[in-house]
């Protein structure tokens, strides 16, 4: 059946989240928000424009670290649809974490801005 596994996985995720809403929100707002913020900051030098001075892709993640975590955290607190929250934060973490992982291994990105 086409699309069977993703649908089933989404259903399982939704059931798990909806059965334990409090624990899910705590995990999402605590370790979830922290991991998402760290991966976003780590991957920012790869996609943020370096600017005229060639340092913006380093300076902005350095500066915006507190703000990024705060935005992610507040989002996890305010999101009414917890399953959607898990999907948004999870996707952001996976995509950014993958990019940062490749950069750490030297597959993408130069070793200078």
């Amino acid at each position: 059946m086409v699309g069977g596994f993703p649908l089933k996985a989404a259903t399982v995720l939704r059931d798990t989240v909806e059965c334990n809403p409090t624990v899910s929100r705590w995990l999402l707002a605590g370790p979830g928000a922290l991991t998402a913020a760290v991966t976003i900051i780590a991957a920012m030098p790869l996609w943020w424009p370096p600017g005229t001075a060639g340092v913006d892709n380093i300076v902005y993640p350095l500066l915006l670290t507190p703000l990024i975590w705060s935005v992610v955290f507040i989002y996890t607190c305010l999101e009414e649809n917890l399953t959607r929250g898990v999907l948004v934060i999870g996707s952001a973490t996976i995509v950014q974490g993958f990019a940062a992982g490749l950069a750490l291994l030297g597959v993408i990105g130069g070793h200078a801005p």
């Binding site: 780590a42 507040i74 607190c77 030297g106 200078a112």
Partner: protein, 686 residues
């Protein structure tokens, strides 16, 4: 905010309350120590006890540092930092980089010198990882201790910085959640708290103070957590991703000017001439000199200067170290201007508040004090809602002990510092010991089973004594006398001594004053009226200050009007006086409103040109005239109406008397009816 649902509001309230409660005490410690550390430089000058005027890095610097540098091996000449300490002596640190066995990190290693700024004699030399040993380079253990307590709560690196970073995030979240939870923020901005000791009054006071300091709380939390996480987490992480883990390469890219390597030995240029050029180019005082590759053809000199007028960030001027040629002003990060660098350069002034000298620092201290009030009132509010539970009652006691105990322990640290100085002890040991003794005493007092109000009064008394004793101890420890300080232009010595004595007086008044809270609407009106009166009084004096300011009059080409400096000082005191009176009246919320309102009105007064002020005055006069005319007309009409009504009433009375039936007989005067009517009408006419 109105767009939030009930469940979202409930979650935000829980986040706001629990984050503030769990980390509130530590947050209070960080904010209070930070508020004091804003004047860290002045505290250093005040406590260092030097009898020399604190001069910036200028004049004959070359003649003092060159002989020392020429005597060193080349290995230490790659990087040299020169600054001045609180006693006005030069501190020079030529260094290389080596792995620090204590931290496992690459740190600066080399000899650090303290050089007499007048004679050029080397006062001390120590070799090692100098930044680990503040006693090698700092003249004031008290300043070091306060800054360390603020930045990392005296917890070893990197954990202290991580803890304070988390506290910064907590403050940001508390500010953001408070902003979102409050539905009528703008409308309630000037609504005075309901008086009394009820729960709703405590909530009002917390919200009022929180609303006024919201932006500041966010900024402080943001910049504070940036400083905490930048070195410990973000920097290594970004170096790993973008530079393969090479932090030195990242530092060079961000902070060091690009140079074509040339190791040819070349005599170093005249440092005094370079300093003179830097001061000519940028009028701010020099705070740091960095020399790279001393004695080589590719040597560079970085001069860091205080922001000039209207500037916010430090200025970084770069010179060729071989020829002394000015190479230009460099952004704080990168080699060419960028938005990233512009934003980066705002972080320091926004966090430290040092961009406009004592004035901006004073505002930062005031806002920091407001933040302390918000944190404490929030924790007390939380406790009051749960007074029935023993655990929360205990927490409330801990809040009281911390709120008074921390400032007392900081005073005790100062006492330890001065006593060590008087007894030739080590101030870097006795300052933290003094703090520990103060803390222990306060905790012990907190354990004594007396009611909280009484305990608070005891603490206030202790604080008063501690404040009063500090200037005396400073003088006892061979500190600079007031006459010497005035003669040598050491404003910090006089100002801080007077501040402590004033604080002692106010605290003593507060302690002796019987606790009383006004109740009822009348008292609330009084609070509001007192606040408005204080704001009007301060604004009026501010306007007077602006109108008589010589520079302002020159700038706007008005007739010069000489002003006595003492008049200006008296007027400045007049601006502050209403706020002090509000504080003395135990009206914390009104004080905070006054502080915020005066900031705004002061800014408006300063920004208004005399032409605009005249136009405004004309407009106000016209409006007043119109209102007066309208009022006069209204009064005249009312008078005429009253007269007519009176006449009508008299006539009606006369008519009623004339048409009275004659069936009821009763004695009457021997006067005719027509005579009666005529008399009544005459009386009405009169």
């Amino acid at each position: 905010m109105k767009f939030l649902s009930q469940s979202q509001l409930k979650r935000l309230t829980a986040v706001h309350g629990w984050s503030g409660t769990i980390l509130g005490i530590l947050l209070y410690a960080v904010v209070l120590t930070g508020t004091v550390a804003v004047f860290g430089h002045e505290i250093a000058t005040w406590s260092a006890g030097g009898h020399r005027v604190h001069a910036p890095l200028s004049g004959d610097v070359d003649g003092k540092v060159r002989p020392v540098l020429d005597s060193l091996t080349k290995g230490y000449l790659g990087e040299i930092s020169i600054w001045d300490d609180a006693q006005g002596n030069l501190v020079m640190f030529p260094h290389a980089h080596a792995r620090n066995p204590d931290t496992g990190q690459m740190d600066e290693y080399g000899p650090i010198f303290r050089i007499d700024n007048q004679t050029g004699d080397v006062l001390s030399r120590h070799d090692g990882f100098a930044y680990d040993r503040p006693d090698w380079y700092s003249a004031s253990a008290l300043e070091e201790f306060l800054v360390d307590l603020h930045a990392q709560l005296y917890i070893p690196q990197p954990w202290g910085l991580i803890v304070t970073g988390i506290l910064g995030l907590c403050m940001m979240v508390a500010a953001l959640s408070g902003l979102m939870m409050h539905r009528h923020m703008i409308r309630d901005l000037f609504v005075a708290a309901r008086p009394g000791e009820r729960l709703i009054s405590a909530r009002d006071r917390h919200i009022l103070a929180g609303t006024w300091s919201l932006v500041f709380a966010f900024l402080l939390g943001f910049t504070g957590s940036f400083y905490s996480f930048a070195g410990t987490v973000t920097f290594p992480l970004l170096a790993q991703v973008a530079f393969g883990g090479d932090q030195e390469a990242l530092i060079e890219t961000l902070y060091e000017p690009k140079v074509a390597e040339n190791a040819t030995p070349t005599p170093f240029a005249d440092l005094d001439a370079i300093l003179a050029k830097a001061i000519d180019h940028t009028p701010g005082g020099v705070v740091l000199i960095d020399i790279a590759r001393y004695g080589r053809a590719d040597a560079r000199v970085s001069i860091w200067q205080l922001p000039p007028d209207r500037g916010l960030g430090y200025v970084h001027n770069v010179f060729d170290g071989a020829t002394g040629r000015f190479l230009g002003s460099r952004p704080i990060v990168g080699n060419t201007p960028s938005t990233g660098s512009d934003i980066y350069s705002l972080v320091a002034p926004l966090h430290f508040g040092h961009f406009a000298g004592v004035l901006s620092k004073s505002v930062w201290v005031g806002l920091g004090a407001a933040m302390c009030y918000v944190i404490l009132s929030g924790m007390r509010l939380w406790v009051r809602r749960r007074e029935g539970e023993r655990l929360w009652r205990g927490f409330g006691r801990a809040v009281t002990v911390t709120s008074y105990g921390l400032p007392f322990a900081m005073l005790a640290a100062g006492h330890g510092f001065f006593l060590a100085g008087a007894q030739s002890g080590d101030p870097f040991l006795w300052t933290p010991v003094g703090f520990l003794i103060g803390t222990t005493l306060c905790i012990a007092l907190g354990l004594v089973p007396i009611e909280t109000d009484r305990l608070s009064r005891v603490f206030r008394g202790l604080l008063a004594v501690g404040c009063a004793a500090l200037p005396m101890l400073r003088l006892y420890a061979d500190g600079m006398g007031w006459l010497d300080a005035a003669a040598e232009g050491q404003g910090a010595v006089l100002s801080l001594d007077l501040t402590f004595l004033t604080l002692a007086g106010l605290l003593a008044l507060w302690t002796l004053r019987a606790p009383r809270w006004p109740t009822g609407g009348g008292a609330r009106r009084m609070t509001l009226l007192a606040t408005i009166a204080a704001v009007i009084a301060s604004t009026a004096v501010l306007a007077l200050l602006a109108a008589t300011d010589p520079k302002r009059r020159r700038a706007f080409k008005l007739t010069p009007r000489p002003r006595d400096p003492w008049t200006a000082r008296a007027m400045a005191a007049g601006v502050v006086l209403p706020g002090i009176l509000l504080l003395a009246a135990d009206n914390g919320a009104a004080f905070i409103v006054w502080m915020g309102a005066v900031t705004v009105t002061g800014w408006v007064v300063a920004a208004m040109t005399p032409q605009r002020a005249t136009a405004l005055y004309q407009g106000a006069t016209n409006i007043t005239q119109t209102l007066r005319t309208w009022r006069d007309r209204k009064t005249e009409t009312a008078q005429r109406l009253a007269e007519l009504e009176h006449r009508v009433a008299a006539l009606e009375a006369a008519l009623a008397a004339a048409s009275k039936p004659k069936t009821i007989r009763k004695p009457r005067p021997k006067r005719s009816l027509s005579r009666d009517v005529a008399d009544t009408a005459a009386a009405a006419d009169v």
